[in-house]
């Protein structure tokens, strides 16, 4: 536990000076507040921007942040210094994962200020689950990529699929069907209803399968490459 808390503290200090990662955490919560307060079009669905940006935030921020942090540490060889200081690989990954999840949850908390207080627990619960899946995918990319450039190249298409498919699905039925296999689309639908009642089995199944696949890929990548 000690090493995990050191990694979290280190990451907090580093992120405050790392604009690339910082912008990922801040951009969507800020956009949500601005758009929800500044734009008011008649007949626009209620909390349109909150729900849309929440899904994009979930598919983008944790994935890119985790992948880029791990890849940067590998590229600059600071990860090796940590492991030689007897920080275990799992402690490092847990530290980064917990840190990114916490910051993303704080961002989600900011976005949740636009919701009614009764909806907030449901919203945060759904976002928390989505962040975990995105973190596992980001960690998988960070493990596979040997440097930051490779991490960006790998995370960009993955991030676009998970973040933008739910948005495109609003305008095209065929895309909606395809997007249905992704956790982000299912979570968008959950956020649309904003209630525990009537959650479809299909939704739970897709989210569970996505989570299982993400975790399996992560463990397979870790077993094969470790943190080398």
């Amino acid at each position: 536990m000690h090493n995990i808390s050191v990694i979290i503290k280190k990451q907090l200090k580093d992120t405050l000076k790392n604009k690339t990662v910082l912008i990922q955490f801040v951009m969507f919560p800020v956009l949500t507040l601005i758009f929800e307060n500044a734009i008011n079009i008649p007949d626009m669905p209620e909390l349109f921007f909150t729900k849309l940006f929440s899904v994009m935030y979930m598919g983008m921020a944790p994935l890119v942040a985790v992948a880029s942090v791990i890849a940067e540490e590998k590229e600059k060889n600071t990860l090796r210094v940590l492991t030689m200081a007897n920080v275990k690989a799992w402690e490092y990954l847990a530290g980064i994962g917990i840190y990114v999840w916490t910051i993303c949850m704080a961002g989600a908390g900011v976005m949740a200020t636009t919701l009614s207080s009764g909806d907030i627990p449901f919203y945060l619960g759904v976002m928390a689950a989505g962040f975990i899946i995105s973190i596992a995918i980001g960690a998988c990319i960070g493990i596979i990529a040997s440097n930051q450039m490779a991490a960006t190249s790998l995370s960009l298409p993955v991030m676009l699929i998970f973040s933008f498919m739910p948005m495109l699905a609003m305008f095209n039925d065929k895309i909606e069907k395809i997007a249905g296999i992704f956790y982000t689309q299912q979570i968008r639908e959950l956020l649309g209803n904003m209630t525990f009642d009537g959650i479809k089995t299909e939704t739970m199944l897709v989210v569970a399968v996505n989570a299982l696949l993400a975790l399996s890929l992560f463990f397979a990548a870790f077993k094969r490459k470790g943190l080398e």
Partner: protein, 287 residues
Amino acid sequence: MIRSNGICKSFAGRRVLSGIDLDIKPGTIFGLLGPSGAGKTTLIKILTDQLAFDSGDVSVLGKDVRTLTGADKKQIGIMMDNHGVYERMSCIDNLRIFADIYQIDKSKAMTTLTQVGLGDSAKKPAMKLSKGMRARLQLARVLMISPKLLFLDEPTSGLDPMTMKYIHKLISDCKASGCTIFLTTHNMEEAAVLCDEVALLNEGKIVDRGAPEELCRRYNHQKTINIHLTSGEDIELPHCDESAAKIMSLMSQGRIETIHSSEPTLESVFLELTGRRLESDEEVRYA
């Protein structure tokens, strides 16, 4: 402190280390000299349990290297030449992270920074440091834990002479405090100045070893006498009786402007043993 017996290591069928035997006494500086690609870094990685070996035995701090515990590893400092620092963080924060991991007093971070001459740059982000300052920061990171055993992989590679001298002093101070140091280098002067014992590594094999002066004495037949004549001509004579007669004759004719003897160096010893120079991979014919 470090003992190894017949370490062998291959990568993809290519033998990188063959039968490496070591016996490094506590409180000494051991230098491993060899050109790039000789296997120096591979050996350090094996001795620090970063890399598995194919055969042989390695004991570090009196234990099989594969059974070292976390507490044992906290007594070992490792500075590899490619190790990074947290660029965006200040020098002091870079050290505080490791003080936290090693659970040592955080005030030691500032003391160590001052010790390596970076006290005034404590709040400077690591990305703004020069190469020499960065090397000192890396060294501070390992010195801060007051290691019993220190591995330094080419600690002065690519540094200017002033910084090199500064780092040599830090290494000597570390030895004076009782630390055992394993150093790899391809700089023969560094090895001659710092090391109590050196081993010459070529193509994965130790070709000779001993105290630097002892090694040079062992190859004393390389000693030559260089004479600059008043006519501007330079001549080099081997160290033998015939040369003495020739020098006497030149002296009596008043033809000698300067005369000096050229002693063998670790570089020339290595060259004789392997046909290779230490500072490059270039094969040379030893005349």
